[in-house]
């Protein structure tokens, strides 16, 4: 189904005012293993709940700007590295279809048959047929195209093998990650249902174990670490041997899925209040009730609209919304916001770096940490329990669903995705976000995103205090003497070693 040899097609302009949108075509080359089922992106329930006109507009936007799993679209506005080598025409001096170039990247990627896209110049914007590289001379930097179309001029920009990494990322993802994380990245792959904790749903654009401040996105390095080393204590396995190129590509693909998912979420949130079926039905029900109430009291009242009429009105309002370019505005705004957020996360300013060295791990430091842990400024103990076993009082309560006054059915804390979540048992020495002191420092200072684990940075704890808490937390697994009921073979062997001769 997902082979690596999918051709790429040319740029396509969907809406004016956008950057170049490029599709990677996917003429399915089937080599004898039968028709595989088509992979599809799923839409959120809130998208499905929109009135048909609005739903159609959302689906159209998502399909045009992000494509389908079989036919990805690269929206260049987002800081995603889709792959390929960019270059500029230096001079068009050779025979027809040949010209010398300067490349921005590695020439090794230019192979015979690679596709070439014009980014600027007379042939840009999909006006010419897709060009293919016939040969590339690395010494003279001369590029020969398979067909001589209108001649490019010096300064024209192009991309060779555009989208290559993205396609590789998709293949790696479909092979290794999809069955847990789902085609859409919604954490609902075929195996996902059976796991606890559930695989991450990327569509909130949130990742838990990051190096950035509490309101920021994850960095590429954070995701890279997760893919390489896995998340101990969960079903997220380590992919250490995946290969550097593959890992980088799949990380890029995951970022892209996260952007696509959050784009849908935010975009639909803009529309839900006015154009969602359930909201319309609800408001009619309310209006009807108050109408009847008023009538009973013999007050003057206006009969509310019928459901079909209300939907018709909403549809008309939506048409106006589109005609007034407000829909385009919402798309623009959402895209801007996401592009800015994902660009910002890579900047050093938002990275959580300790301003002071780790406080020496002494009994005094641990004691200071313990007192902070048990204090009411941090309230660590309310979640993690006085002994650190993850059994604090908060796990016994019923909590409200975020943004509502409805309670979760289950006792205890939940994460942003609505999954029940236990505070970590700190006596096990198992740290999902990594066991470096730096990792724990970041967890405590910036919290764990999308979970109730709060950020204690600057406002509550100063850096040296965070270190005291880190020292205390790291000492917890080794405090009580664990009974050694089973004789450990290492001990047996070690004894053999230690025993003097004879």
């Amino acid at each position: 189904m997902f082979r690596e040899n999918f051709p790429i097609s040319m740029p396509r302009f969907t809406r004016t005012g956008f950057n170049v949108l490029v599709t990677f075509g996917l003429a399915v080359i089937n080599s004898g293993c039968g028709e595989a089922p088509q992979a599809k992106f799923k839409y959120r329930p809130t998208t499905e709940d929109l009135i048909p006109e609005a739903n159609k507009a959302v689906v159209k936007t998502l399909t045009e700007d992000f494509g389908t799993p079989e036919k990805l679209v690269a929206w260049e506005r987002f800081p995603v590295d889709y792959g390929g080598v960019k270059g500029t025409v230096a001079a068009n001096d050779g025979p027809a279809g040949a010209f010398s170039v300067t490349l921005d990247g590695d020439a090794g990627k230019i192979a015979k048959g690679a596709s070439l896209l014009w980014v600027t110049g007379s042939q840009a914007g999909g006006k010419s047929a897709e060009a293919t590289v016939k040969s590339f001379n690395a010494v003279t930097k001369t590029l020969q195209l398979a067909s001589a179309s209108t001649a490019p001029v010096a300064g024209d920009r192009f991309i060779v093998a555009f989208g290559e990494d993205m396609q590789l990322g998709r293949v790696v993802y479909m092979k290794n990650c999809m069955h847990c994380h789902g085609v859409t990245g919604d954490g609902d792959g075929p195996t996902g249902k059976f796991l606890n904790p559930r695989p991450r749903d990327y569509r909130n654009g949130k990742f838990k174990f990051t190096s950035t401040q509490s309101q920021e996105k994850a960095t590429r390095d954070d995701l890279h670490r997760i893919v390489q080393y896995g998340i101990p204590g969960t079903y997220m396995p380590s992919f250490l041997l995946l290969g550097k190129r593959e890992t980088t590509a799949v990380v890029e693909y995951v970022r892209w899925l996260a952007i696509r998912g959050e784009f849908e979420k935010r975009f639909v949130e803009e529309l839900t209040n006015d154009y969602s079926e359930s909201v319309i039905v609800d408001s009619i029900k309310k209006a009807q009730a108050s109408y009847e109430e008023k009538k009973r009291n013999k007050e003057e009242a206006e009969k509310p609209l019928s459901e079909s009429k209300a939907k018709k009105e909403a549809a008309a309002a939506f048409k106006k919304y589109v005609d007034d370019k407000e829909l385009d505005g919402a798309i623009e705004e959402t895209a801007n916001l996401l592009a800015a957020a994902w660009t910002q996360s890579e900047t050093p300013e938002v990275s959580v770096v300790p301003t002071s060295q780790r406080v020496e791990d002494t009994p005094e430091s641990r004691e200071r940490g313990r007192l902070l842990y048990m204090s009411n400024t941090t309230k660590c103990y309310t979640c993690h329990g006085p002994t650190g076993r993850g059994d604090g009082a908060a796990t016994e309560d019923f909590w409200d669903k975020p943004g509502t006054s409805v309670k979760f059915e289950k006792r205890g804390l939940h994460d942003e995705w609505g999954n029940p979540l236990k505070p970590r048992n700190l006596t096990l020495g198992q740290y999902r976000g990594g066991r470096r002191p730096l990792d724990l420092f970041r967890r405590i200072r910036a919290g764990i995103k999308g979970t109730p684990m709060p950020a204690f940075g600057e406002t509550v704890l100063k850096d040296p205090q965070v270190w005291d808490v880190v020292n205390y937390v790291m000492s917890l697994p080794y405090q009580q003497k664990q009974p050694t009921a089973v004789k450990h073979p290492a001990e047996v062997v070690a004894k053999n070693e230690e025993k003097p001769a004879n």
Binding site: P354, R358, R436, P437, L438, P489, E491, V493, N496, K499
Partner: protein
């Protein structure tokens, strides 16, 4: 000649060569048996078809002496194999507990605790200069899917599993051992040459069985220690960098 063996065909452990010899011995025995029985069968078919109408047939069915022969001969062969391989088996499974010939204890470096889980290998090493303890220690070093061992001497790992049954398999070193829930099993082996060797799970352990592909990195004792120092420094990194002045 060793093309059917994993990797380049050579065994990179001391015991591995002996295991390969056993393999060849058994291969020869089996080949001789196969060719011999096939020839006998072919002869019987040919002889039976070529028999003349008036010739008297020889009924072998129920022949006491034949039955005795084909009971005793294979038993003898099997007994021979059983006895002949004892030494290799003992070296693989028992001799780690035994002493050297001169009475001194065997020198085995206990390298790490290897824990298999669905679907990865999590590994815990003692800090440089310390013995491996049965329970985690504050200065232990951790790695995942990458087992480092020193070359040039017998090493031992403690094999465990967190969930179901798995098997630790390093084809190029010819080591294989099941990991059994609730058990901590010492596995002895050596690596004669530094290098990266494939490390696999050899027990169908679930849908992700094929993912349990890891790497065994054999290094000289010095490199091994240096690696441990480096891994330890990384693991205890506090992320603080002195600002440039």
């Amino acid at each position: 000649m060793h093309w059917w063996f994993p990797g380049d065909g050579n065994a990179y452990s001391t015991l591995g060569g002996k295991i390969d010899d056993l393999f060849y011995l058994i291969l020869v025995i089996v080949s001789v048996t196969f060719v011999g029985t096939s020839a006998a069968l072919g002869y019987a078919l040919w002889r039976g078809a070529a028999i003349k109408a008036d010739e008297k047939v020889w009924f072998s069915h129920g022949s006491h002496s034949l039955e005795v022969i084909w009971t005793i001969v294979p038993s003898a062969v099997l007994l021979f194999i059983a006895l002949y391989q004892l030494d290799v088996w003992a070296e693989y499974r028992m001799k780690g507990f035994a002493k050297e010939k001169d009475g001194s204890p065997k020198i085995i470096t206990v390298v790490a605790e290897v824990t298999a889980r669905q679907f990865e290998w999590r590994i815990r090493y003692p800090a440089n200069g310390k013995p491996l303890k049965p329970t985690p220690q504050p200065d232990d070093i951790y790695s995942v899917n990458e087992l480092h061992v020193p070359t040039g001497g017998l090493v031992s790992i403690t094999l465990r599993t967190d969930d179901v049954q798995h098997a630790f398999f390093v084809p190029m070193l010819r080591v294989k051992q099941d990991a059994v829930p609730g058990k901590m099993i010492p596995v002895w082996f050596d690596a004669t040459m530094p290098g990266n060797y494939e490390m696999l799970c050899a027990e169908l352990c679930g849908w992700g069985h094929y993912k349990m592909k890891a790497m065994l990195v054999a290094q000289s004792a010095d490199d091994f220690e240096a690696w441990k120092d480096k891994a330890s420094a990384e693991q205890f990194d506090d992320g603080y960098r002195k600002p440039a002045e």
